[in-house]
Subunit: 442 residues, 2 copies
Amino acid sequence: MQRTLVIDSIGKVGEKILLAGHVATRRDHGKLVFIDLLDRSGIIQVVGGEELSSLRPQDVVEIEGLVQKRPEKMTNDKIPTGKVEVSSEKVNVLSKAEEMPFDMGTETLNLELPTLLDYRALTLRHPKVKEIFKVQEAVMEGFRKAAQGLGCTEIFVPTISASATEGGAEVFKVDYYDHSAFMTQSPQLYKQMLVPVYERVFTVSHAYRAEPSVTTRHLSEAIQLDCEFGFVTFETLLDYLELVGKETLKYVEKTCADILKDFGVEKLKITDKVPRLTMREAQKVILKRTGVDHTKEKDLTPEDEREICKWAQEEGSSDLVTITHYPTKKRAFYTKADPKEPEYSLSYDLLFRGMEILSGSQRVSDYGELIGAIKERGMNPDNFEMYLQAFKYGMPPEGGFSFGLERLTMQILKLANIREASLFPRDMERVDIRLSSQDQKE
Amino acid sequence: MQRTLVIDSIGKVGEKILLAGHVATRRDHGKLVFIDLLDRSGIIQVVGGEELSSLRPQDVVEIEGLVQKRPEKMTNDKIPTGKVEVSSEKVNVLSKAEEMPFDMGTETLNLELPTLLDYRALTLRHPKVKEIFKVQEAVMEGFRKAAQGLGCTEIFVPTISASATEGGAEVFKVDYYDHSAFMTQSPQLYKQMLVPVYERVFTVSHAYRAEPSVTTRHLSEAIQLDCEFGFVTFETLLDYLELVGKETLKYVEKTCADILKDFGVEKLKITDKVPRLTMREAQKVILKRTGVDHTKEKDLTPEDEREICKWAQEEGSSDLVTITHYPTKKRAFYTKADPKEPEYSLSYDLLFRGMEILSGSQRVSDYGELIGAIKERGMNPDNFEMYLQAFKYGMPPEGGFSFGLERLTMQILKLANIREASLFPRDMERVDIRLSSQDQKE
């Protein structure tokens, strides 16, 4: 007998079918036993007797049974299969699950973060945890479509690098045969090198950050979505980043409407024009709104980001706001200073509902200027040999930006911690299992 | 004046336009100077006088000029813009290139591999090198469409792992805060853990291989395209892998026809049914065809792969052939033995025009059996704690496969070395620059 997907059972009332999936829950009502069976297409109620009574959540089963209409009063409007149920006739257990270490049957999985991650292979199965990564998939797909729409070629860049991409001590060292190498901090240098090749590129890459601190919005390994464009002005870059941001969010809203509802996420406010402020202008707005004077600060604080997003929502009806012109010294060496006021750079962040989700800039594209910028940061141009080749042999004016995939997922769903937005988060304390427990074992 | 893309100049005869791009070549004919200008949309001939004579290949320029029809006899059928040219009026050099270290103007870039890679930021600009990675992009897109068509959810897996994924010594070690971690050999364990979550998944990931040897078909870091399916039989897995293989290749042929022609690649032979043989059957076929007796060997040699592909092409008119049932001991611990003949496994390789491009198997899905398989390979189940959780709490019968992106690109275009199919190849001797030169610098 061929398997029927849960969702297809709706059209098979009166037919005998074979279902296969995980047991989500079991409810005993005297001699009647109900289970909810889950497969990739959805969830359905199965009703039966003794043959169901030994089943446990997460058991993997095949069930033969008859599809029947549920009585009027017993229908469930919350699920697509809520008007039918399957009366079980034969159960075949494919894989028996051990007893759950916690209750997986609640609407929200109420676990402390460490437990959520200690049992990751199990907790990812919870319907509401699963949904997070369907949103993540949609972010990815929305970004890809937007980048392709702008004519970007997809490129694949390495993660092992001979020197630290952007300087700084926050790099992971790798034993690379008899040499030392590093995990890339970003795909930055590679995507820039590809601009003279394809003019417009995008890449999905891994970014590593060895900062020995624990925050709710940083991971040691994260997925980064990058675009880079040649022959563009600063204004065009702003248009493009806002376009990609808007298209990505709209795609998520279109394809994940039910999930956003489950998470209590408000409808997106996306305006044709995204409000734009320089960092200094933003600080002045904040001073005026709150009386807090950050106009001398060299960056926006997380509180500032929240406040300026409130402003954009209240004054501009926009969940997005673009901040430009961060101090040149606060940004990476490849960031172009504003020729009109070199203390500030042609840089930008895109903020969404209180948090930065994207960062980027117009780049230094002149070979000599770039060597100067590298030296100014105390770095050795010899360590950027191949990168500098790209500039030595003709580099168009260019710029780009990158999203953090987990950060954006977190922010869309209003998750409390970025670790919830990573299937297998890496941080100072954890690589799947807690690192402390690993040491005890060895 | 707004920029016009090269390709759009065709429709602007008699108009003044602004082009922007790289100088590909310059030809001086007395007072007349011709340059070929390249942008992301194509290449066009610009004709002018003195203002062009100081331009060099790879200079980045803006050129204002008049689009005019070329005289009948002077048209060039090889390029879409071959019926027009631009008569230059004003040239603005955006970025001056240094003199080329070699001739970039030849149809094929005739460089030794080390030079090709030493100057990677430059050599990638050569039209025929660029094309390689347009094919790679198409492989990626074709694979993604096929996987999505089969209902796979896209997942993102980490590259840093607490223990070696599949055992063996060929792993790169990372200094991970105060601990040791490893670069993942494959996304295998993670994609399997996601089967009880989404049932069908695909992932694009990085696979690291620290083997201290240099071959023409292995990289130290490679991109891997993976699928994994729950509730499938071995037969269904074979159908799926062949479907994904065929769809991917067809997508490349459809979208990259001109490139395949440039590389002299023959039209694909793809049959509805892909020929299938067990490894032992393949060895017998080879014995019969060549007299070479490999029927006692535990694997197919590269020569065997070439020979059995010849057989498939000659006897089955197929560029693809699926080989199944490799010896259980030759495959990774998670490979399911054939219950009918446990010495052989429910494993498979897909061969394409002489080389393996895909590998996979039905998996061990029983918790106890899996622990046994891990121990049998001399590994410690404690190092697979989170992976084993997935099996402890109900795992459907499942299996999957993976492609090597570079391997497939190489094989489609008949490249001599896999390094040509990686933008920035990593091997024992090179991480962008040669590692030996790095050491001298330090």
